[in-house]
C-alpha cells in the first residue's frame, strides 16, 4: 500500500492554453503542492461562479508525472456546462479548483513493464498520452503499440507529438480514420476490428497490458475484440466515458 495524500481541493491557475483541434484544447495548470500522479489517473475539477454556484467534472490527466505542470486536454461537448467554458473561455491567469489524483486501476508506470497495448477512441487518447509522455521522460524502451481511432484528420489529437515520439525504440503508433481520412491516406480507414488488432499485435500470448479508453460503445467493442482474440480479461484495463453532461 502506498501512502496517499488527502484528496483535497487545490487552486489551479491557468499557465497556458494550447489548441489541439477545432474542438479540444490543453490547459496547462499550476497547482501548488500538487502531490504528483501516476500516468492514467484523473482529476476532479470544480468551477465556481461569482454567486457561489459550482459545477464539478472529471478529466484525465494528459501530462507526464515528470512535468512541472498539470495538463488536462478537454474536448468540447455540445450542450455541455463545463467543457465550453474550459475549451472556449478560459485564458491564462484564470483560476478554478482541482483535486486528485484519482484512480488506481487505469494506470501505468515504467516499472510495471510491458508489452503495452494502448487503444484510444477520440479524446480517449488523453490518459494514454500521459503514459507515452511518462515512457518518453524515463527513456523507457518498453514495447508499446498505440492505436488511435479518430473520425478525421481534424479530430486527430497530438499527431505531431506522436510522430516525434515514434522514433523511440519499441514504440509503434497506428491510426485509423473512421469517417474522413486525410487526403492520400493509405492506412486503416475503418472502425477497429479483429483483423486490425491481429495486424497491430502483440498477440494474446505476449502477456500485454492493454489500456482501452474512449466513448462507451468504442470501449465495449474493443475490449470484447481483445477478449475474443484470447487476451486475458484481467489484463485489459478499460476507461469509458459517456457523451453526457460535460
Amino acid at each position: 500500500m502506498t501512502r496517499r495524500a488527502p484528496v483535497v481541493w487545490r487552486t489551479a491557475t491557468v499557465r497556458g492554453v494550447v489548441a489541439e483541434s477545432h474542438h479540444a484544447r490543453t490547459l496547462v495548470l499550476d497547482v501548488p503542492e500538487w502531490p504528483g500522479h501516476r500516468a492514467g489517473q484523473h482529476v476532479d475539477l470544480r468551477l465556481t461562479a461569482e454567486d457561489g454556484y459550482q459545477a464539478q467534472r472529471s478529466y484525465s490527466i494528459a501530462s507526464a508525472p515528470e512535468l512541472d505542470a498539470l495538463e488536462i486536454t478537454v474536448e468540447l461537448i455540445d450542450d455541455g456546462e463545463v467543457s465550453p467554458y474550459l475549451v472556449e473561455e478560459v485564458r491564462p491567469g484564470d483560476q478554478f479548483e482541482v483535486r486528485g489524483p484519482i484512480g488506481g486501476h487505469f494506470t501505468w508506470s515504467v516499472p510495471d513493464g510491458g508489452p503495452l497495448l494502448l487503444i484510444g477512441g477520440g479524446s480517449g487518447l488523453v490518459p494514454l498520452m500521459s503514459m507515452l509522455r511518462h515512457r518518453a521522460a524515463r527513456r523507457s524502451e518498453v514495447e508499446t503499440r498505440l492505436l488511435v481511432s479518430a473520425r478525421g484528420a481534424e479530430d486527430a489529437l497530438h499527431s505531431d507529438e506522436l510522430a516525434s515520439l515514434e522514433p523511440s525504440a519499441g514504440l509503434h503508433v497506428a491510426w485509423t480514420f473512421t469517417r474522413t481520412p486525410p487526403p492520400g491516406w493509405t492506412g486503416w480507414a475503418r472502425r477497429v476490428d479483429a483483423a486490425m488488432l491481429a495486424e497491430l499485435g502483440p498477440g494474446p500470448d505476449a502477456g500485454a497490458r492493454s489500456f482501452v479508453c474512449g466513448p462507451t460503445p468504442f470501449v465495449e467493442r474493443v475490449a470484447e475484440l481483445l477478449v475474443e482474440a484470447g487476451h486475458d480479461p484481467r489484463a485489459i484495463h478499460a476507461e469509458r466515458f459517456g457523451p453526457t453532461g460535460g
Binding site: 484528496v7 472529471s58 478554478f96 486501476h105 465495449e220 485489459i236
Partner: protein
Amino acid sequence: MPPFSRGFHGRRRADVDPSRLPPGQYLTPDFPVLSAGPTPHTPLDEWSLTIDGAVDAAVSWSWEAFLALPTETFTVDIHCVTKWSKLDTTWTGVSVDTLLKDVETAADYVTAWSDGDYTTNVPLEDLTGGRAWVVHTYDAAPLEPEHGGPARLLVPHLYFWKSAKWLRGLTLTVQDEPGFWESVGYHNYGDPWREQRYWSD
C-alpha cells in the same frame, strides 16, 4: 473560499428539485457506463448467486431458482461517483432481505463479488431493511450486460460503484474488507449526500 472562475456562469437547472441532487452531482438523461475491464458474458446455465462466508450454511440459486424468488419493482434515484445522477430509475429484482431470510450470521459486513473479479464492501445493515436488491430488470426489460446484466446489486443510497454489476455472490464477513475501488483511494462507505467520494472525504 474557493477562487471565482472568471466568466463562468453555469447552467442552473430550474426544473430540478435540489433536494434530490447530492452535492457535486449533475443530472443526466443518459445511462453512462463505468467499469474497469471488459464486460463479462456468463451464460445463464452457468450462472449462480451464492451467499457464503461467515454463515452457518452457504446458499446458492441457479438462474431459474433466482427468477422464482419473490420480486419487487421500485423506482429510485442513482448517483455515480463520476458525478452523474439519474432520477426515477425503475428496477425489478429480489430484495436482499429475501435472500438472507434463512441465513444465520454474526457478520457485520458484506463483500459483493462479481464476474470479472470485481468486489465491493458494504456494511450488512446497508443491504437490509429494504434498502438493497439484486435486480435483473431495468425499465421493464432484461438488464443489459453493459449495465450489469444478467443481475446486479442495487444499493441506491450509496454511490453506484457499490451496486456491483454482474453479481455472483455476497460473502458475509466479520471484518470490513475494502473492495476493488475502496482499495485504490475511493471512500470506504460512499454516501453521496455527504459527498464521500475519496478516502479522505
